[in-house]
């Protein structure tokens, strides 16, 4: 699976959260990061190139700071100019049909405010309806979004947990079962260890993978026993 992350942020170098997430995926060979404001400093979008990029990826993600309950201007302009009738929707070819689509949104306000009774009143799911409608119209599967609230207030543990969710949204198949997360983690550990010459570290990681695999066998075995004894 190849993932395209379309990032829109007018001042990306000043954004600690954007730098944190984007820096973390530099070695990911199955991920393409495409920052619109850097690619088009004059604002003139190359529609054919953008459509070719979309064609060559299976999962499309929009990553942006939440500005007035939507994306920055450049991403809206990109939608208007790239997702044309005859390419993304309408009669004939629907180039995005069957792909997956998701959102990664950086939000400066506390999560609790995005609900009835909170200062922002509406949930993220309600406020992102236009993106959900876009995915629907173009025939893409809408993924669970990743909303990152108040990155600046997160401690290291929260940042790590969020980073794992970010990597999963970028590279894990759309299924959050324990088994899928195990497979994903083993795969990522193996990739991260490729070329590592530290024998002790390699040994420990190999052992952790072995434990995860043995636990999976135990869980599957117990599942069969349970199915058996539940049978009337």
């Amino acid at each position: 699976m190849k993932t395209l992350v379309i990032v829109s942020h007018p001042e990306i170098l000043d954004s600690a959260s954007q730098q944190f997430f984007l820096h973390s995926v530099k070695g990911f060979d199955d991920v393409t990061v495409h920052h619109l404001e850097s690619a088009y400093p004059d604002g003139q979008i190359n529609v054919a190139e953008e459509q070719a990029l979309l064609n060559s990826h299976d999962r499309i993600l929009f990553q942006f700071p939440f500005y007035w309950y939507s994306s920055p201007y450049m991403l809206k302009k990109w939608q208007d100019e790239v997702l044309l009738e005859g390419f993304a929707y309408g009669e004939g070819r629907r180039a995005l049909y069957g792909k997956e689509f998701g959102l990664i949104i950086m939000i400066g306000i506390n999560e609790r405010e995005y609900q009835a009774g909170g200062s922002e009143r509406f949930s993220i799911n309600e406020l992102t309806k236009p993106f959900q409608a876009m995915a629907h119209k173009t025939g893409m599967t809408y993924l669970r979004p990743l909303a990152v609230f108040q990155f600046g207030y997160m401690d290291d543990e929260e940042k790590t947990e969020t980073l794992i969710k970010y990597w999963q949204l970028l590279t894990m198949k759309n299924d959050h079962s324990l088994e899928t997360r195990e497979e994903w983690l083993i795969n990522r550990l193996q990739k991260a260890m490729t070329g590592n010459s530290d024998a002790e570290l390699t040994q420990r990681i190999r052992f952790a993978i072995q434990v995860i695999e043995e636990n999976r066998q135990t869980i599957d075995g117990l599942k069969m026993v349970l199915e058996d004894i539940r049978r009337p």
């Binding site: 973390s24 983690l185 991260a192 434990v211 636990n215 349970l226």
Partner: protein, 62 residues
């Protein structure tokens, strides 16, 4: 998984964390600790359910 084995592998991973500077690997090691804990919990719950089901009064007549 036996409790001792779980504790042992978790502490091994913790020691690995202390020695690893590679940020990507550090995050993945923390994820591995989380997954192993979650698997152990799942195994315990399933074993408890098996025990409970086998000792159910509904089965006493069998």
């Amino acid at each position: 998984m036996e409790k001792e084995k779980e504790e042992w592998i978790l502490s091994e991973l913790e020691r690995t964390l202390e020695k690893t500077a590679d940020e990507t690997l550090r995050v993945l090691i923390k994820a591995a600790q989380g997954i192993i804990k979650e698997q152990s919990r799942r195994i315990e719950q399933m074993e408890a359910e098996i025990d409970g089901t086998l000792w159910s009064p509904r089965r006493w007549g069998e």
